[in-house]
Each structure stands twice: as structure tokens, then as C-alpha cells.
């Protein structure tokens, strides 16, 4: 029973990782690709780490895997935000069919 839950979590994680990586290739500009990267990290890697720790049962291994998951969970938004802000400040343009850019209008 426990193993089935673990394998379901691993399967969801692998599917999210593959779809997110396809998104990183398909989507048109940096900001959209960061959404796909969030799918890879949160839906893919963190769910896979949870699955691995369910599979392993209660041990020091599980504790360390959960610490890695928590670390990724806390640092990934900081890194994404820093990259997006740096891209916007250094003048990377939005996709040509974007509908609005309030940041450029209101804070030039």
C-alpha cells in the first residue's frame, strides 16, 4: 500500500518534470519559461523527493530528503524572482503578442 502511494508520487513527478521541460523548450520568452521551470521544480522534483521519502520509510535518509525538498521549496522562488527582475532590468523584451506591460508603463 505504502509502496503504491510512493510509486504514484514518483510517476506524477516524472510526468510533471517531462512536461515542464517540454514547456521550457516550447514557450516563447524568458518569463513564460520561468513558469515552466516552476512546474519542473515544484511539480516534478519536490513531488519526486516526497515519493522517495515515502518509499524509504522513517529513517535518517527520509529526514535528509525532506530537508532537501524544503530547501528547494524555499530557494526556488527567490532564484526565479532574481532572474526575472534581472531580465526585465537588463532590457529583455516580452513576447511580441503579450497583452500588457504595466511595469514598463508605470516604472520606466
Amino acid at each position: 500500500m505504502i509502496e503504491i502511494i510512493a510509486y504514484i508520487l514518483l510517476g506524477i513527478g516524472a510526468a510533471c518534470a517531462l512536461i515542464g521541460a517540454m514547456g521550457i523548450v516550447r514557450l516563447p520568452d524568458v518569463y513564460n519559461r520561468i513558469h515552466a521551470q516552476t512546474v519542473v521544480v515544484v511539480g516534478g522534483v519536490i513531488v519526486m523527493l516526497l515519493g522517495a521519502s515515502v518509499l524509504e520509510g522513517l529513517s535518517s535518509y527520509t529526514l535528509k530528503a525532506l530537508i532537501i525538498a524544503l530547501f528547494l521549496f524555499l530557494t526556488n522562488p527567490v532564484g526565479s524572482h532574481a532572474i526575472a527582475r534581472a531580465a526585465h532590468k537588463s532590457g529583455v523584451k516580452l513576447w511580441r503578442r503579450s497583452v500588457a506591460d504595466k511595469l514598463k508603463e508605470e516604472k520606466p
Binding site: 535518517s60 497583452v99 514598463k104
Partner: protein, 169 residues
């Protein structure tokens, strides 16, 4: 002085727990070395880790809202993942990206940081910048449904802000 002692003690306990989690053993020698290192790091850094009193950080009401925040957050994550995966897998990719302004009522630094992190962690929305006075975020949205500040605030920020304004007062 009393406040400083309390926050020093809390910082020491947190750092020691982190040490035990990372070494993963309850050996007496490891525990002793961990206590020494945690005490040293706590003395150096407790001023930056905790500001203000310790009493108000342990009010049960705030911890209750923090517990209620977890399932709401997971539900928001699931919905956002489903919509972004649909957008990626759709052959014609019907995305409508754009940067919108999201006003917020939160004022404390921790509250705004938590809101920006939660917005970035849900795929589909990405906080790009914070305005100087800290009253609004600029959010890149992969599927813009509205540009007006009231609408964006209700659709993007409200699911998190509802809890965060009670947790970080």
C-alpha cells in the same frame, strides 16, 4: 534584555534541530559538537534571525491560521499546475502573457515576502518587482484575464493574502 535571551534560546534550538536532521544520528559526541556549533552560530546571528518579541510569535491564533494555510496552498498549487500543463500541452499554446500590477494590503516585510514567494511558487504567476513603498507587486501572468488592479488582486493575491494578513500582522 529578557527578549534577547528568549530569541537567543529559540535560535539555538532551531539550529540544533537542523544539525540533528543533517547528521541523522543521536550519538552523544555528535550531539555535543552540534550543541557547541549551534550555540556559537546563535550568539553571532540571533539579532538578524528574530526581530521583535518572542511572546507574540507563539500566539495560538497565528499558528492556527498557518495550519489552515497549508491545505489552501496545496489546492492553489494543484489548480495552477493543471492550468499551466494544459497550456503547455495544447498544440496551439493559447497563452496571453503580460505584466500586471497587483495591489496588496500587507505592510510587514515578512508578509510581503511570503506573498511574493507564494505567487512565484504557483506556476502561471511570477512576481517580477515590488514598488518602492511596498504597496503593490508587479506580476507576470501567463494567462491575463484582467488588467484592472481590483480584479488582479482578487484573482491572484486573495487566496494567499486571506491567510497571510492574519499570520504576519
Amino acid at each position: 534584555m529578557r527578549m534577547a535571551k528568549e530569541s537567543l534560546f529559540v535560535a539555538f534550538v532551531c539550529l540544533w534541530l537542523a544539525w540533528i536532521g543533517l547528521t541523522g544520528s543521536l550519538n552523544l559526541q555528535e550531539l555535543a559538537v552540534g550543541a557547541i556549533v549551534a550555540a556559537f552560530v546563535a550568539v553571532v546571528s540571533y539579532e538578524f534571525l528574530f526581530q521583535g518579541g518572542m511572546r507574540e510569535k507563539f500566539e495560538p491564533e497565528r499558528w492556527g491560521y498557518a495550519l489552515a494555510y497549508v491545505p489552501a496552498y496545496i489546492w492553489a498549487e494543484l489548480k495552477a499546475h493543471a492550468s499551466v500543463i494544459y497550456l503547455i500541452l495544447h498544440p496551439r499554446m493559447p497563452i496571453k502573457p503580460g505584466i500586471v500590477r497587483v495591489p496588496t494590503e500587507l505592510r510587514s516585510d515578512f508578509g510581503i515576502t511570503g506573498l511574493a514567494n507564494a505567487i512565484t511558487m504557483t506556476p502561471g504567476t511570477l512576481s517580477v518587482d515590488v514598488s518602492e513603498e511596498g504597496s503593490s507587486l508587479y506580476v507576470h501572468w501567463i494567462d491575463v484575464k484582467a488588467v484592472e488592479p481590483e480584479q488582479t488582486s482578487r484573482q491572484i493575491a486573495w487566496p494567499f493574502e486571506r491567510f497571510l494578513r492574519r499570520i504576519f500582522r
